[in-house]
C-alpha cells in the first residue's frame, strides 16, 4: 500500500486504534498491525501508549516491535516493492532481477530511494514459487517478474 493512503498520526487517533484491539488475548501483534495499516509505520510515541493500555513495560513493547521484520519504524517510500529473495525464486532468476532493480533504483535492497519514491525490500517467499520471481508491489502480488517485466514496472506503475 502506498504511503499516501495512510492517515495522519496524532496521539488521539493512535489511542483509538489501540483501544479497538486491546480487549483480545495476546493483543500486541494485532495492535501493531492495525497501527501500521492506519498510519503507515509505528512511531516511537506509540510505544508508551501501547504499554500503558496493555499494562506492559515500554521495553517489552519495544522488544516485540523490533523483533518482527514487518513492522516499520520509519516512513516507507511512496511505493513499496517487496521482491522475493528465497530459494525457489533464486532458481528462477531472482538474483539477476534483484541486481537489475538495485542498479536501476540506485539503492541496495533494504533501502528507500533518496527521492522517497520506492522502498525496495526483501521478502522471503510468497507461496508463488512455481511462478517466480515473485513480488508484492504496493501489496499486490506479481509473478513471472523477469528483468524486462521489472523494467516495465519501474518505468510504469512505480513512477
Amino acid at each position: 500500500m502506498s504511503a499516501s493512503r495512510h492517515q495522519d498520526w496524532d496521539a488521539a487517533a493512535s489511542g483509538e486504534v489501540i483501544a479497538a484491539h486491546a480487549g483480545q488475548q495476546g493483543a500486541l501483534l494485532p495492535i501493531l498491525h492495525a497501527l501500521q495499516a492506519r498510519f503507515g509505520w509505528i512511531r516511537d510515541e506509540d510505544v508508551p501508549l501501547i504499554a500503558q493500555v496493555l499494562n506492559l513495560s515500554r521495553a517489552e513493547v519495544h522488544g516485540v516491535l523490533t523483533f518482527y521484520h514487518d513492522f516499520r519504524r520509519s516512513p516507507p517510500g511512496r511505493h513499496v516493492l517487496k521482491l522475493c529473495q528465497a530459494e525457489a525464486c533464486q532458481a528462477r532468476g531472482s538474483r539477476d532481477v534483484t541486481a537489475h532493480a538495485e542498479q536501476k533504483l540506485g539503492v541496495a535492497i533494504g533501502e528507500t530511494t533518496a527521492d522517497g519514491r520506492v522502498s525496495f525490500e526483501p521478502i522471503y517467499c510468497l507461496g508463488l514459487c512455481a511462478s517466480g520471481p515473485a513480488a508484492l508491489v504496493d501489496g499486490v502480488p506479481v509473478a513471472r517478474l523477469g528483468v524486462e517485466a521489472m523494467d516495465r514496472l519501474l518505468d510504469g506503475a512505480l513512477t
Partner: protein, 520 residues
C-alpha cells in the same frame, strides 16, 4: 442461460493477471449480450496454466490456458462462452491432463473445482461428512481413527497426529486450544496457501474435528502476513460457517462448542516453529521455548494445545468421512496416506502434486515436473525448504518418504521440491542458507545466532581461496556445533543445506581458478 465461467482467485493466478482477465471477460460478455457468472475458484495447481479460464458446458468443463486480458476478445469471438475449441489456448477438459490424471487427490479433491466460498458447494462435494461422523463419536474413537490412518504431521517433523491429539484429550483443563500453523515459511511450498484460498471450509472442518476430539473450544489460525488472500478467504469462510451453526456454541447441532480466530504473523520465519508461534500468539517476541513442557501439556497461555500444520488438520475430514483404512491404504512403510508435494523453481510443470508416498525424486523432477522450463539441465534439488538438503541427480532414486530421505541426510519437511539448473552456484546457496539463518534466528542460542554469521564469513573465505582447507574445517566444525548445540531446527538443520552443497558439489567451493577476480 447464464454461462458459468471459472477464473481462479488464487494469489498465484492473480499475480499473473487473473484480475484483468475477469474484467476483460465481463466486458466481452456484455458486448456480445451473453449473461455470465464468474466463479473465483481456487487454482487446480498447475501454475503454468494460469490464468486458467474454464467454461461449464453440457459436456463438462473445458479450459483455456495462460489467458491474458488481450486474448479475451479473440477468445470470445471464437466461441469461448460456448466452450468451443479451435483457439490455440483451448486445452479441453483440464483434469484430463496427465499432470492431474496421475494424482491421488484426497486433501486437494475440491481445490480448483468448487467455489471456495460456497458452503453448499463444499457440502455437495463431500464436505462436512467427517465432522458429522465425529460429533457422533467419542474423543477416543476419533483419536483411534487418526492413529489408524497413520497420519503424521505435515509441517516438517512428521510426528504422529493421533498421539498429539490424544495427549491433549487426556490432559484435564478448563480451557484447551487448537492452533493451526499456517506460517508456511519454507521456500518452495504453497500447499497451505492453496487450501486456505481454494478450500477454506476443509481447514475449518479439520480444526473443528480436532476441537471436538480433544475438548478444545477455541481455535487460532496463525497465518503469515505474506498470504493476504488466505487471511481474507479464511475470515470470510469462518463467518459463513458461524452463520450456518458449524462454528459456535453448538457445532453442527451437537453439544460441542468451537470457534476460530484468525491471527496474522509479522514476517518472522522462526514463528513457524511451534513454540515460537505460541509466543507470538501471546503477543510476545517469537522466541523458541525450551521443551518440556510440551505444548500438548502447557501450550498457548499455558493451556493444553494441539498445534498442527494446515495439511495435517486438512487430512482429518477425509479420514473421518471416508475411513482411516482408506487413507492408510495409500503410502509406503511408516509414511501413510498422500503427500501434497509442491514442485517449484526451474520446472516446466511447477505446481501441486498430491500423491501417495513412495514416488521417487527423479520421477518428480524429470517426469511429472517435466524437467526444467529454462531448457538447461537440472543440477541440484532442494527438498524440504531452507533447512533441507540439496540433492544431486545421482540421488534421484530416493523415494519420497520420511525415512528414506532421512537415510540420505535429508528431510521431506513440508513437501517443497525446488529445482535448480546448471547455472546455480552451490557455494552461493550454502552462503544463503547461513545468511537466512542469521536473519531469522530468534537469538536464543549462541550456536545459531553467532554461528550463522560466522558461517557466512567462512563460506566467503573459502570461495575467495583464503586458507581453503583450514576454513573448510572451520565450516564443518561450525556445522557440527550448530547441529548439536541449537535449541530448534533453524540452527540445528541449517547445516543440512550447507553440508550437502559442500559434499555433493565441492567443485563450486572455490577451486582458485574458477573466479579469478575473486581470488585474494
Amino acid at each position: 442461460m447464464t454461462v458459468r465461467v471459472f477464473v481462479p482467485g488464487d494469489m498465484a493466478a492473480v499475480a499473473v493477471g487473473a484480475g484483468a482477465v475477469v474484467d476483460a471477460l465481463r466486458a466481452a460478455a456484455a458486448a456480445s449480450g451473453v449473461p455470465i457468472e464468474i466463479v473465483r475458484n481456487g487454482s487446480r495447481g498447475l501454475f503454468g496454466l494460469e490464468p486458467l479460464v474454464e467454461v461449464l458446458t453440457a459436456a463438462g468443463r473445458v479450459g483455456y490456458a495462460a489467458v491474458t486480458a488481450a486474448d479475451v476478445p479473440a477468445l470470445a469471438a471464437s466461441g469461448l462462452f460456448e466452450g468451443k475449441g479451435g483457439h490455440p489456448k483451448f486445452i479441453g477438459d483440464p483434469k484430463a491432463l496427465p499432470f492431474f490424471q496421475r494424482q491421488t487427490r484426497l486433501t486437494f479433491a475440491r481445490c480448483g473445482v468448487t467455489d471456495p466460498q460456497s458452503l453448499d458447494d463444499y457440502r455437495r462435494h463431500g464436505g462436512y461428512r467427517g465432522l458429522e461422523r465425529a460429533v457422533a463419536m467419542t474423543g477416543e474413537a476419533i483419536v483411534d481413527a487418526i492413529k489408524l490412518s497413520g497420519l503424521r504431521g505435515r509441517g516438517g517433523a512428521g510426528f504422529p497426529t493421533g498421539i498429539k491429539w490424544d495427549t491433549v484429550r487426556l490432559t484435564p483443563a478448563a480451557q484447551k486450544y487448537i492452533v493451526c500453523n499456517a506460517d508456511e515459511g519454507d521456500s518452495g511450498t504453497f500447499a497451505d496457501r492453496m487450501v486456505m484460498e481454494g478450500d477454506p471450509f476443509l481447514l475449518i472442518e479439520g480444526m473443528t474435528i480436532a476441537g471436538v476430539c480433544t475438548g478444545a473450544t477455541k481455535g487460532y489460525l496463525y497465518v503469515r502476513s505474506e498470504y493476504p488472500f488466505a487471511v481474507t478467504a479464511m475470515q470470510r469462510a469462518i463467518e459463513t460457517a458461524r452463520r450456518a451453526g458449524l462454528l459456535g456454541a453448538a457445532v453442527a447441532g451437537s453439544s460441542h462448542a468451537f470457534d476460530i480466530e484468525v491471527r496474522v504473523g509479522a514476517g518472522a520465519y522462526v514463528c513457524g516453529e511451534e513454540t515460537a508461534l505460541l509466543e507470538s500468539l501471546e503477543g510476545k517476541r517469537g522466541q523458541v521455548r525450551a521443551k518440556p513442557p510440551l505444548p500438548a501439556h502447557a501450550g498457548l497461555f499455558g493451556k493444553p494445545t494441539v498445534i498442527n500444520n494446515v495439511l495435517s488438520l486438512a487430512a482429518a475430514p477425509f479420514i473421518l468421512g471416508e475411513g482411516a483404512q482408506a487413507y492408510r491404504d495409500f503410502g509406503v512403510g511408516r509414511s501413510r496416506g498422500t503427500m501434497p508435494i509442491q514442485l517449484a523453481g526451474d520446472l516446466r510443470n511447477g505446481g501441486l502434486f498430491e500423491t501417495p508416498f513412495g514416488v521417487t525424486l527423479g520421477d518428480l523432477i524429470d517426469d511429472i515436473g517435466g524437467g526444467s522450463i529454462s531448457g538447461a539441465p537440472i543440477r541440484a534439488v532442494q527438498v524440504g525448504g531452507p533447512l533441507g538438503a540439496y540433492f544431486p541427480p545421482s540421488l534421484f532414486d530416493t523415494p519420497f518418504d520420511y525415512e528414506a530421505f532421512a537415510a540420505r541426510g535429508g528431510l521431506i519437511g513440508h513437501g517443497g521440491v525446488v529445482a535448480f539448473n546448471d547455472s546455480v552456484d552451490m557455494a552461493a546457496q550454502a552462503r544463503f542458507a547461513m545468511e537466512f539463518c542469521a536473519i531469522e534466528s530468534c537469538g536464543k542460542c549462541t550456536p545459531c545466532r553467532i554461528g550463522a554469521v560466522r558461517g557466512v564469513e567462512t563460506v566467503d573465505k573459502i570461495v575467495r581461496g583464503e586458507d581453503r582447507s583450514a576454513n573448510l574445517t572451520v565450516l564443518e566444525d561450525l556445522c557440527e556445533t550448530m547441529k548439536f548445540g541449537s535449541l530448534c531446527a533453524l540452527g540445528g538443520f541449517t547445516p543440512y543445506p550447507v553440508m550437502s552443497a559442500l559434499t555433493h558439489f565441492p567443485e563450486d567451493f572455490g577451486a582458485p581458478s574458477r573466479a579469478p577476480e575473486a581470488v585474494v
